[in-house]
Subunit: 300 residues, 2 copies
């Protein structure tokens, strides 16, 4: 069984590509990198990679991470600037024995040393959007991080994230996305999870670690997401949306916002967009109608 | 009941000060800051704050974090340069609504903006030690982070860490110390925990979150540390030493190295140094003898 799941509708094209790779027996790593790079490279997505909204100093600073579920090896970059694909740097860092989590100029220095492509990540469109948003918006509290879990037909799993973070964030700010156990987690013997939302709150409950831990106790991905979110909600209010997949390709999601979406594909399910709504103490997954999809595409 | 516990013998003077504060009804925050600042300010400690060993670029980059156990609010700095007391910046950040985790130049910018003292953290002694160590040492894998948990007589708890990180670390590298749930955790309703060791491994199992979670299930601090370490050891080999205190002032510790030490004081126990040794599947706490203490002091 193979499977892949990622946060938000923006992941749809990437999951299309990744599911073809998995179906052709590619590794979960190759599939996950393809899915996340597709989102990073798209200048129409304001919250990830190229074309992401800048920080208070008008710099695009990106966070990304990669976790190998076979051996728990991890690579993380925080507040990295002017590197085209932060997820690739994170994956590369996961092979190092030490210094797996690099930030700021140190992360960029490493990326250049290893030959990763430099790119001015700030687009004119993002500058325009920034100026427009600044007029009427509070610092952006939304959460359009791409978080992704992949399972390949060799039963290996991995997790990854990529984001340009909070709108108008402070220079050097990092959220939950590069933090292992908070924004993502994967253990090939159990499953994986990822979170998107207000990083400052998500990290306080190690949400992704907790979901995987609950799956190790026998909870389904859906129940594990719901149970972790219930515990979160006793103390925290920041936006929090969760996805999970276990090592059988079963998946689940939960959210404390009105309208969360994710994309999933498995050996038995073609790439499919789901919407998720919070309903008192559980989350309901359902297929979007045509109007919702066309409105969304028009908005992008 | 009040109590305070911190990693390594270097915390002894700080715990002396902090325990007096707690005995005079000071808050856990005041006590913890006093304990950690004492270690940060001491140029004889090569692994924390002023006089810390520099990174590969000969810069002293520090990590620190503060967590308020009453509301889970957290402040974290990663790879911050030339600020005298990283723990104070972290505590200040814990009062912000957003942008609680700042790294590199962004963290320094925030610290200066808020009026924190700048200081050239690199001492001649540290330069000499660096040059000497470079000749015969592999990048330092030891772990002399200060991690501290405090409980005050109002039943509030907090956790904090401070470190200059791995010897010869890469520029921008951060370890487990600023990562919530990995290097530290505190929940006043349960207890707190802190870790010291190879950050790159400790973060893979969210060790401090896991210990507090186990205490919430009813485990004593000692059993919680041992159980978390057993789970860690199934997959990971990096040095890992753990301390915990619950909200009754009971404490525990575990380690996978030969000789770990910590300092603890409570309403009923004057500041006391303990040594910890790994013995198959559990850890044994015992009081050091005079020779061990005098050898250690001679070494510092």
């Amino acid at each position: 069984m193979w499977g892949i799941i990622a946060t938000w509708v923006m992941a749809k094209d990437g999951i299309d590509k990744a599911s073809k790779l998995l179906n052709d027996n590619s590794s979960c790593k190759e599939a996950l990198l393809a899915a996340i790079k597709d989102v990073e490279d798209n200048p129409d997505f304001w919250s990830v990679g190229y074309g992401g909204l800048p920080n208070e100093d008008k710099e695009v600073e990106c966070d990304a991470a990669y976790m190998n579920g076979d051996n728990l090896k991890v690579g993380c970059v925080g507040a990295i600037k002017d590197i085209a694909n932060p997820i690739e740097v994170a994956e590369h860092l996961s092979h190092e024995d030490l210094n797996n989590f690099l930030t700021g100029d140190g992360a960029k220095k490493y990326a250049i040393e290893k030959g990763f492509m430099e790119r001015d990540m700030l687009t004119q469109k993002a500058i325009n959007a920034y100026e427009e948003k600044k007029k009427f918006s509070k610092p952006y509290r939304g959460h359009d991080t791409i978080g992704c879990i992949a399972l390949d037909s060799n039963n290996s799993m991995c997790a990854g994230t990529s984001t340009s973070g909070l709108f108008m964030k402070r220079k050097g700010r990092i959220g939950d996305s590069p933090l292992i156990g908070s924004g993502y987690y994967a253990d090939s013997l159990i499953g994986g999870a990822a979170a998107t939302g207000l990083g400052e709150d998500i990290m306080k409950k190690c949400m992704s670690y907790e979901i995987v831990r609950l799956m190790s106790e026998g909870y389904s991905p859906q129940k594990a997401c719901e149970k972790a979110l219930l515990s979160y909600s006793t103390k925290l209010k920041g936006d929090c949306s969760l996805i999970a997949m276990n090592n059988k390709g079963e998946f689940g999601a939960a959210t404390n916002i009105d309208d969360f979406s994710f994309v999933v594909a498995t050996q038995n399910l073609k790439p499919t967009i789901y919407r998720v709504s919070r309903i008192t103490d559980h989350s309901e997954l359902y297929l979007p109608d045509e109007k919702w999809l066309s409105d969304l595409l028009a908005h992008i």
